[in-house]
């Protein structure tokens, strides 16, 4: 069963996303900030990472760059979640190594479509 790592600092968003993915039959692990997200990526080797951008001291782009710079985790697809649909945010995400970009509040149908490009759901 595909495993998804959710890196999100807001507890309700984490819970909501986890339950939605679990309903779709996916396994989920969560991390609450950038450093723990990087650690969880190396430890669990998920099939996909859902990365929030606003995470505190280390933002989602920096965490993604670190994950992509590690040969072990570099191949894991990362989808970023941001509050605004700004061209600059999209560019920053692509530059950091993310393969997709989704805005909050999350439209689950659209997100599942994007996820299905990378893993079988």
């Amino acid at each position: 069963m595909p495993l998804i790592l959710i890196v999100e600092d807001n507890e309700m968003n984490r819970d909501m996303l986890s339950r939605r993915f679990q309903r779709k039959g996916l396994d989920v692990v969560c991390a609450v900030d950038g450093p723990s997200g990087i650690e969880a990526a190396g430890e669990h080797m998920p099939d996909l990472i859902l990365m929030d951008v606003a995470l505190g001291d280390m933002d989602g782009w920096e965490a993604t760059r670190t994950i992509k710079s590690n040969p072990m985790t570099a191949a894991i697809p990362v989808i970023t979640l941001t509050a605004h649909a700004l061209e600059s945010d999209r560019k920053k995400s692509i530059e950091a190594g993310c393969c997709e970009f989704e805005t909050k509040p999350v439209d689950m149908n659209r997100l599942f479509e994007k996820i299905s490009q990378f893993i079988q759901i």
Binding site: M12, M16, S88
Partner: protein, 464 residues
């Protein structure tokens, strides 16, 4: 009318100023001194030349003494053009005072020595020195030397009386009266003019003080406004987060529960949860728009100019629109500049189009928005034309202000709101752009948006 215009243009002051160097015009004190210098040189010879003319007409003397006396007086008319040509005011003022001293000494020596009726004119020397020149140490010393030197020469010439030309002093009685009257008039005119200038300067100082005071007030008000703006931006940023976070949860959980209810076949709960979900989504949409609007107003919307072409931005906008409003068609019309690479805040441009499209979608879900990138001679802009589901053109007025009494825009009328147009207008203002109605070559009415080439320039005009 023309004559009165000429009169208003050619005042005494402007005529006098014509000869004054520009650097003196910008300094009130120097300007005042130069004006007095010019007035004295313009009208002084008219007044004082009556003396040699009377001497000649009354046949008191008709020789070289009268000629030199008259010429030394008329010489004052040469000073204004020299001042205009050279700009050497101080030197000319010192020479001019020396010129007055020469006139007085010559007239006294020629027509009676210390008994000559022209002696009171010697009092002009300190007066002119006071009026013409600033109280600077070395200039003052030169003038004192000049005045005492002139007096010494006169006394020396008079004491050596055998050198004085002969004159009939009885004939000089009338000219004595004319001389006294002339010197009195001269003193009077100069004093009046000085008083007028002094009064004007005092008025000017008072106005300047008032302006300085107003400027201080404005500075304080600006600081207060900036403080209020910063507080507003802080409030908006905080409020944005505080409003969005619970709304995201409402929307997310309602959607989750909705899916569960649908899976369980609970139609009643599904309908209720669907209402909650839709209302939450609508509310979030509206809050996002108002917060964006407020953020631009507070000058806190980040600007990020990048080099890109409109066609690359349009492709993404088209996909977005298709996903959000499938019935609304976003079409790229040929404008000739769609592939030009332009430095612009494309996020803001995308926001304008996104909002225009959204406003059209709320009016008629099956409409069409045609956009063309146009440009000429370094100007760049967009041509927008919108059509309803029947293909009829819909006027697009971006001149909308939110919270205005004159506007029927209400942020509470979501579903058929024009808040999107107000936000599009705000984004356009943020970019320094302008919009106007135009008619395209095919006769269709459209709206032309022009963007400035840089932030400190107005946009260049663009035709449809």
């Amino acid at each position: 009318m023309a004559a009165s215009n000429i009169c208003s243009r050619w005042t005494l002051g402007s005529m006098l100023d014509y000869f004054i160097p520009k650097e003196m015009l910008s300094d009130a004190e120097q300007h005042r001194r130069a004006r007095l210098f010019m007035l004295s040189h313009a009208f002084g010879p008219l007044l004082s030349s009556s003396l040699p003319i009377y001497i000649y007409v009354a046949n008191i003397a008709r020789d070289y003494r009268v000629g030199i006396f008259l010429l030394s007086i008329l010489a004052f008319w040469v000073y204004p053009p020299i001042l205009r040509a050279t700009g050497r005011y101080k030197i000319l003022a010192i020479v001019s005072i020396q010129n007055v001293a020469f006139c007085v000494i010559w007239a006294c020596w020629s027509f009676g020595g210390l008994l000559a009726p022209f002696l009171p004119w010697i009092l002009l020397l300190p007066l002119l020195a006071f009026l013409y020149l600033p109280p600077i140490g070395h200039v003052r010393n030169i003038l004192l030397l000049e005045i005492f030197g002139s007096l010494a020469i006169l006394v020396e010439l008079t004491l050596a009386s055998d050198q004085l030309p002969w004159v009939d002093l009885e004939q000089m009685q009338v000219i004595g009266m004319i001389s006294m009257a002339s010197v009195a008039i001269y003193f009077g005119v100069m004093s009046l003019y000085f008083a007028k200038l002094f009064r004007e300067q005092r008025e000017f100082s008072r106005e300047l003080n008032a302006l300085v005071s107003s400027s201080d007030n404005l500075r304080n008000l600006t600081a207060a406004a900036q403080q209020a703006g910063a507080a507003k931006a802080g409030f908006i940023a905080g409020m944005s987060h505080e409003l969005r976070t619970p709304l995201n949860a409402i929307i997310g959980y309602s959607q989750l529960l909705l899916e569960e209810a649908e899976d369980e076949g609970d139609e009643e709960s599904s309908a209720d949860l669907g209402q909650i979900h839709r209302s939450g989504t609508d509310l979030l949409y509206l809050i996002d728009k108002i917060l964006d609007y407020s953020r631009i107003e507070a000058g806190k919307m980040p600007s990020n100019p990048t080099l890109a072409s409109f066609s690359s931005v349009f492709a993404r906008l088209q996909a977005e629109t298709l996903a959000v409003s499938p019935e609304l068609e976003l079409r790229l019309a040929s404008g000739g500049s769609e592939d030009d690479t332009v430095m612009l805040d494309w996020d803001a441009v995308a926001s304008i189009i996104r909002n225009v499209a959204a406003s059209l979608a709320t009016k008629d879900s099956a409409g069409r928005l045609e956009i063309a990138a146009i440009g000429e001679n370094g100007a760049f802009g967009l041509r927008l034309a919108q059509f309803d589901s029947q293909g009829d053109a819909i006027p697009l007025n971006l001149d909308v202000e939110l919270f205005s009494d004159e506007s029927d825009v209400s942020p509470t009328k979501y579903g058929s709101t024009a808040i999107e147009l107000a936000l599009a207008q705000k984004c356009l203002q943020m970019l320094g752009g302008t919009s106007h109605f135009a008619t395209h070559d095919d006769g269709a009415r459209c709206t032309v948006i022009a963007f400035p080439a840089s932030s400190d320039e107005p946009p260049l005009p663009l035709a449809a």
